[in-house]
């Protein structure tokens, strides 16, 4: 990662002192000796218990190295480093699998004198597998149907069981699963309640309506899980969410739980056990509040981790997961929300968060919402399911140590895309994308502002004059 940034950095005159290669920002008590043995033990355990076995087996037999994925990968396009070609990256792990877990690979290794996995390869892996943002754009173009993000997850999973995880992710997850606050931003529940009360006052000033953030209410239809950082950084998004729920007549139909209110799930990026434990917390909170559905806020990976994995870990009655984008679109369809078409005069573009859009789940909904009230809407090219990642996916946005890499390599194409639209406002309905895009805009000095979709809805929402204020 560091070397790529250096080679791209034309301004640097003298090469900086080389930092120790091992664990530049990976935590805390990393293994120094016996790493190869440990890696293979963990790999074997994962192959035994998980579904990665059949997956890596079939990939190792049939991938053809056609390199079509290279044409889609924004990281490779920006860095030009052959290691960034998705199938080249995956091949590292596939080779280890072949050599150590298949008879043919073992025989070939013995005949050719291939000693197998070496210590250096582990360093190479911790570098390269965290270079990938897991955007899954390459999966769209693989003729075989190989999904390199699964191999990336598997590699990170093995490394994380060795104790190798970027510190930023680890401390957040520790607070979320074992800390008092039970969320990644360490916001105590009373502080969250205070924030909500403050936002209620703001909403009253803005709209003249008594719009509530219902706390710990039982038997509600929706239990709301935004990215918890929204409580600190994105008050307009949250107010927009509450205003939509109010206008749609669901003021008394949703709630926020105080025991657990964080949608963020870094387990999606690096570890199955953590993914499951975080989903379990979400499910427990819904059960505690006797809620019926999970309503996810504006956040890509939070929405996807709930949507795709609640059914994986849920043992009880089914809990449907609905994104606030779907909810708002339905409310607009039903004519429950009135948005002023003259409220937003700026040129607006929309960034599709990979975790929502790549599968085609949330692509049309935001566009229907946007087209219902925004006049000057410009699409990025490409967009929708094929959109480029913001450059901070896969948890990398939280790792401040790779800021340069995120700006100069992973975020480069996104910056070009935004500049090409000429938009003044960039809608990014995702906490991670928002942080990354704000940094990109500052770094590349793009005259645009990053907002949430519900921030703009808040500006445009109108309530009938004669409506009763309750």
């Amino acid at each position: 990662m560091a070397s790529k940034v250096e080679s791209l950095d034309q301004e640097k005159q003298a090469a900086p002192e080389k930092e120790p290669k091992k664990y530049p920002y990976y935590i805390e008590s990393p293994l120094e000796d016996g790493r190869v043995k440990r890696f293979l033990e963990i790999f074997a355990a994962i192959l035994r218990h998980s579904n990665y076995g059949p997956l890596i087996d079939i990939y190792s037999k049939a991938t053809t190295k056609c390199a079509r994925c290279a044409g889609t990968c924004q990281i490779y396009q920006a860095s030009g480093d052959p290691e960034d070609v998705p199938c080249a990256r995956s091949r590292i792990l596939l080779d280890i699998y072949r050599r150590h877990f298949t008879l043919g690979g073992w025989l070939r290794g013995r005949m050719l004198g291939d000693p197998g996995l070496q210590d250096d390869t582990i360093d190479q892996m911790l570098d390269t597998f965290y270079d990938c943002t897991g955007c899954r754009r390459c999966s769209l173009e693989c003729p075989m149907g190989v999904d390199h993000a699964l191999i990336m997850r598997l590699a990170r999973n093995i490394l994380s069981e060795m104790g190798i995880v970027p510190k930023a992710l680890l401390v957040s997850v520790r607070e979320q699963l074992e800390g008092k606050s039970a969320n990644t931003s360490a916001i105590p529940a009373p502080a969250m309640i205070d924030t909500c009360e403050f936002l209620e006052e703001e909403l009253e000033e803005l709209t003249g309506k008594t719009i509530k953030f219902p706390i710990d209410q039982e038997d509600r239809e929706y239990v709301f899980f935004p990215a918890v950082s929204d409580y600190l950084l994105e008050p307009d998004t949250l107010m927009g969410n509450a205003a939509v729920l109010y206008a749609a007549g669901d003021q008394d139909n949703w709630t926020i739980g105080t025991k657990y209110f964080d949608g963020i799930n870094y387990g999606l990026f690096y570890n199955d056990s953590i993914l499951g434990r975080i989903i379990d917390k979400e499910i427990s909170e819904v059960r505690r509040l006797k809620g019926k559905k999970i309503l996810t806020g504006e956040c890509g990976h939070a929405s996807r981790s709930s949507k795709a994995f609640v059914n994986t870990f849920n043992t009880g009655e089914e809990i449907p997961v609905i994104s606030i984008m779907e909810y708002t679109m339905n409310a607009i369809h039903d004519g429950k929300i009135k948005l002023d078409p003259d409220a937003i005069t700026e040129t607006v573009t929309y960034h599709d968060p990979c975790n929502m859009a790549r599968s085609g789940w949330i692509v049309d909904q935001p566009r229907e919402i946007i087209n219902s009230f925004i006049k000057n809407f410009v699409e990025m090219t490409p967009h929708g399911a094929e959109n480029y990642c913001c450059g901070g996916g896969g948890g990398t946005v939280s790792v401040d140590e790779v800021y340069d890499y995120r700006m100069k390599v992973t975020g480069k194409i996104k910056a070009d895309q935004i500049i090409a639209t000429g938009a003044e406002l960039v809608i990014a309905p995702c906490a991670n994308c928002k942080k990354q895009l704000k940094e990109i805009i500052e770094y590349y000095k793009i005259p645009a502002k990053v907002v949430g979709l519900h921030d703009l809805i808040l500006r445009a929402i109108r309530f009938p004059e004669n409506e009763k204020t309750d």
């Binding site: 033990e41 998980s50 079939i58 037999k61 079509r68 199955d272």
Partner: protein, 233 residues
């Protein structure tokens, strides 16, 4: 030479063919078993099989996708694969070979069309080889077998084409011997190399999609096996 050729087209051909079929069968058994295992282990079994199969079929005819990404590679690869499928199956001489082996045959393509397809496959294969050698991206990720298999396939096409000309600079039997032996080598290598994708193709995409349905206890079980407990973070 005739005797050696008969040997190459007879017992050796049959042996190689049997190795290929058995190898492919073994791959199919493992792939299906893997898929069953994945579905069985996952708690969430809400899979859109219809859509998965549609995607598999749609990628078999990727014509509308070719221009979008690396067009030269993509078009060449598509034409090459069309040749690889049609020529072994629909050429008169090959059908006769099939008939002698399995007892029945099917209508053949007219020779002129078969020739055009062969030449197109040769040209596209040559382009793929040149791209693999001279494009930095592919050169860096290619190993010996990536070149060897492609050259072997090109050799099969070339010798087959030359052998079927009425005026042949090299004796027919010699050309045919090289053609047959290269085909035999390819059949032996097929189950042990990336050529396997010709048979595993439909299973790969399905496996990828099912792999996102994780077994719920897997993470915990791994931690217990590796650390003896679900360790604190």
């Amino acid at each position: 030479m005739q005797e050696i050729l008969a040997y190459a087209q007879g017992p050796i051909f049959r042996l190689c063919f049997i190795i290929m079929v058995l190898g492919f069968l073994q791959h199919i058994v493992f792939a299906v078993w893997g898929i069953i295992q994945m579905i069985y282990r996952a708690r969430d079994r809400d899979n859109a099989y219809g859509k998965m199969i549609l995607r598999v079929i749609s990628w078999m005819f990727p014509i509308h996708r070719l221009h979008r990404n690396l067009p030269l590679t993509s078009y060449s690869s598509f034409i090459f694969h069309v040749g690889l499928i049609i020529v072994p199956l629909f050429l008169m001489d090959h059908i006769n070979l099939w008939r002698s082996g399995i007892g029945f045959g099917w209508p053949a393509l007219p020779k002129s069309i078969a020739d055009i397809i062969t030449l197109a496959a040769l040209a596209s294969g040559a382009i793929l080889l040149v791209l693999r050698i001279f494009t930095r991206t592919t050169r860096q990720i290619s190993g010996f077998m990536d070149y060897f298999l492609l050259i072997l396939l090109l050799m099969i096409f070339t010798t087959g084409y030359i052998a079927s000309r009425p005026y042949n600079p090299v004796p027919y039997a010699t050309t045919m011997f090289f053609h047959s032996m290269a085909g035999n080598i390819l059949m032996i290598l097929a189950p042990f190399s990336k050529i396997t994708h010709c048979i595993l193709y439909p299973f790969i995409r399905v496996t990828s999609e099912l792999a996102w349905k994780f077994p719920p206890e897997a993470g915990r079980d791994v931690e217990i096996q590796v650390h003896g407990e679900v360790k604190p973070i």
